[in-house]
């Protein structure tokens, strides 16, 4: 195959474009700026770590089914791990959001990072809601009958029916996890491309103190 033919291949062009945009040393950096040495910067990765546990425990729940997670000790345990990793996920995400909000983390051309984070937050709320209505217990019945009114009043009830267990379960275990994982990947790649947002500069008066 000639060099010009290789250059025209879509795999070659895609690889060169990807490597040009995100060089490997930028994608997996050896060091971070010194200002990242603060606890406020750990909550993004804590959120992703919790998401990994959420997905892992969710896969185990999917393997065994509701009879198992409602009726056995180990099922209760995995069910609890799934719930509490979701609690840690949201807890960390909110602290991460507050930290980034007060840093104005959209500065320096990072608007898309902020926007993908915002959509991640919204998608996570819908994923949690579909999870709560998929528990197959009295709690899920109560939540679905209450939440359907909110969805119906928005006009979305014809497409997103909280009382349709099959639809809610499929959104929870297929569609929304795909959306979340895709958005997390884009969010992290954007952070790698643009770098972690630096803190605000000290005011001139503060620098003399």
């Amino acid at each position: 195959m000639s060099t010009s033919e290789i250059d025209r291949q879509w795999t070659t062009r895609l690889r060169r474009r990807a490597v040009g945009k995100i060089p490997p040393e930028k994608m997996m950096p050896d060091t971070q700026p010194s200002y990242v040495s603060s606890w406020i910067y750990v909550f993004g990765v804590t959120t992703i770590s919790a998401l990994i546990v959420v997905i892992g425990t969710g896969c185990i729940l999917a393997l065994r089914g509701p009879t198992w997670w409602h009726g056995s000790d180990i099922g209760h345990f995995v069910n609890s791990l799934h719930l509490w990793s979701v609690e840690i996920f949201f807890f960390s995400m909110v602290v991460h959001l507050w930290g980034k909000y007060f840093m104005a983390a959209w500065r320096g051309g990072r608007a898309m990072t902020w926007i993908t984070g915002m959509f991640l937050f919204l998608a996570s709320i819908v994923t949690a809601l579909t999870g709560y209505v998929s528990q197959s217990n009295f709690d899920s019945q109560w939540i679905s009958t209450q939440a359907k009114d909110a969805i119906n009043s928005s006009g979305g009830g014809a497409y997103f029916n909280l009382l349709n267990f099959g639809q809610m379960l499929m959104w929870h275990i297929v569609l929304l996890p795909l959306v979340l994982v895709f958005l997390v990947a884009v969010h992290v790649v954007l952070v790698r491309i643009k770098g972690v947002v630096p803190p605000f500069e000290d005011s001139p008066s503060a620098s003399h103190e």
């Binding site: 010194s34 603060s38 807890f91 507050w98």
Partner: protein
């Protein structure tokens, strides 16, 4: 034994307690979680990060 002990420490088999203040109505559980998030946020800003001093000395 473990679940029974936990149930004794945190009795959950009752309606949730709610705080009411003007138009604000929030369950005790949600208020506690929000309070913990605020405490964590402030602690993350104030607590020293391990190895920070060493990194500064190396620079």
């Amino acid at each position: 034994m473990g679940p029974m002990l936990f149930a004794a420490l945190v009795p959950l088999n009752h309606p949730d307690y709610y705080f009411h203040w003007h138009f604000i109505e929030i369950s005790a559980a949600n208020a506690i979680v929000i309070g913990l998030m605020l405490v964590t946020f402030v602690a993350a800003l104030l607590l020293p990060f391990p190895g920070r001093r060493r990194r500064k000395e190396n620079r």
